[in-house]
């Protein structure tokens, strides 16, 4: 697993209060991890802080799964 993936998953576990095993790369924030739209806004903010990247609203709207987040962050680093 990439270093980005590890850090993303850690943030997801912390923010959504879900078990680490549930945070697979295919997991959908809303359908599988119990997030609502505001939780995703908060997660995106946490990713921005953690990785020092900026994720504009139109990009954030396309982040539906854990893998989407990891790929976006990797593409900006």
């Amino acid at each position: 697993m990439s270093e980005t993936a590890d850090r993303v998953k850690k943030i997801v576990v912390e923010h959504l209060g879900v078990e680490a095993e549930k945070v697979t790369e295919d997991a959908s924030f809303i359908d599988d991890l119990g997030a609502d739209s505001l939780d995703i806004v908060e997660l995106v903010m946490a990713f921005e802080e953690e990785f020092g990247v900026e994720i504009p609203d139109d990009a954030a709207e396309k982040i539906a799964t854990v893998k989407d987040a990891i790929d976006y962050i990797d593409s900006k680093q």
Partner: protein, 419 residues
């Protein structure tokens, strides 16, 4: 008018994460006061508070029992305390699993005096230091006062009235009184009612200290600081937590064989129309709210055995309440007892009237009245009043009166009796 009874109790306090632990500690004359741990208060005029203790403490509170991890992260402590107390109360009443039909007639009236002050403070710093794009998307609904009622209604599917009182330190008592009326007026059959506070944060302590409301002379002896009616009292000690009761229409409670703690028989409310922080110099507002509650109750003064006083330990407030109580009770003073449990758990502000109403109910149940701690040297005007100094007292308790008075000159009194 439909009769309203109490069938469930829930509490988070500086002396316990539930009702029975808190009550046991109150009766054992324990104090919840200590040096502030939430932040470094060493440079503050007031460095003490009655904080809710962590889960690993002897009488600590475990938020995880009833509040999801995610919600704990997103909302202010007063909401977390409120959800816990409401959950306990519903379980205690055996109503945590109601049918849809019942839930359509069940509501919430759980308020707060101040609301999410710690979160307002911390997110303001985020705004100032990191800019608007870093403010939490949960900022607003994690701080709003009606969000205990909101969260609890979502958690348990309660679709009846959804209300939240905001009357400073009278909030808890007004919440119970207003909710009882909603049941009496047939707006609902079951109401979760109470109040919560969690304002022990830098701006909260600094603000109340600047208003000259907090005790500052006992920073080295925190347990001695809250001393209602004592000559050396010098202000209140800030507490935190929540109290919630289940109110239920009497015939419904009886029909389902519920445990009935007490009946809410009197509710009085008034305004001082005098000053934003100082009570009316003759205690007229408090007098009128007690008088109204008494009239509504249909009882006579001779029937009231215990008064849980507002008694915050401020020099002026205690004196004026005492004066009003003496004026109202007259010759019946000699047969009643009055105490301030704020001596043990501090002032829970918006939660005070609710937790203190629960103490009144437990006094009815156990026929024992809780003590006023630290009453070493009662002030002159205490003569002739049994203020239950230092230790709890077993006695006959048939009916109880709870007083709550708040900034803005807002007063509420509740009278309850055994059924």
């Amino acid at each position: 008018m439909r009769r309203v009874v109490v069938t469930g109790l829930g509490m988070v306090s500086p002396l316990g994460g539930d009702v029975e632990t808190t009550w046991k500690n109150i009766i054992a004359s324990k104090s919840g006061a200590a040096t502030i741990t939430r932040f470094d208060a060493s440079e503050y005029k007031c460095r003490i508070a009655c904080e809710v203790k962590p889960a690993d403490h002897e009488y600590g509170y475990d938020a995880g029992l009833d509040v999801d991890h995610k919600i704990q992260r997103q909302v202010d402590p007063f909401i977390v305390y409120g959800i816990s107390a409401a959950s306990q109360a519903l379980r205690d009443a055996g109503l945590d699993n109601m049918s849809e039909e019942e839930r359509l007639r069940a509501g919430c009236s759980i308020g707060s005096g101040i609301g999410g002050l710690p979160g307002i403070e911390s997110e303001s710093l985020v705004l100032a230091n990191k800019g608007p794009g870093r403010v939490s998307p949960h900022f607003v609904h994690g701080r709003l006062i009606n969000l205990i009622s909101g969260q609890v209604s979502i958690k348990y599917g309660l679709m009846g009235p959804n209300h939240a009182v905001v009357t400073a330190c009278s909030t808890g008592a007004h919440s119970i009184g207003d909710a009882a009326r909603m049941i009496a007026m047939d707006d609902a059959d079951v109401m979760l009612a109470g109040g919560a506070e969690g304002a022990i944060c830098p701006i909260g302590i600094a603000g109340f200290a600047q208003a000259r409301a907090l005790s500052t002379a006992f920073n080295d002896q925190p347990e001695k600081a809250s001393r209602p009616y004592d000559v050396n009292r010098d202000g209140f000690v800030m507490g935190e937590g929540a109290g919630v009761v289940v109110l239920e229409e009497y015939e419904r409670a009886k029909a389902r064989g519920a445990k009935i703690y007490a009946e809410v028989i009197g509710y009085g409310l008034s305004g001082d129309a005098y000053h934003v922080t100082a009570p009316h110099p003759e205690g007229n507002g408090g007098y009128r709210s007690m008088e109204m509650a008494l009239k509504k109750s249909g009882l006579s003064l001779a029937d009231i055995d215990y008064v849980n006083a507002h008694g915050t330990s401020t020099p002026l407030g205690d004196e004026l309440e005492l004066g009003a109580v003496k004026r109202l009770f007259g010759e019946h003073l000699s047969t009643m007892s009055m105490s301030s449990t704020k001596s043990a758990i501090g002032h829970l502000l918006g939660g005070a009237g609710a937790v203190e109403s629960i103490f009144c109910i437990l006094a009815l149940r156990d026929q024992i009245v809780p003590p006023t701690l630290n009453l070493d040297e009662p002030s002159e005007s205490c003569k002739g009043v049994d203020l239950v100094p230092h230790v709890a007292k077993e006695r006959k308790v048939r009916a109880v009166l709870n007083n709550s008075f708040g900034f803005g000159g807002t007063n509420a009194s509740l009278i309850m009796k055994a059924v």
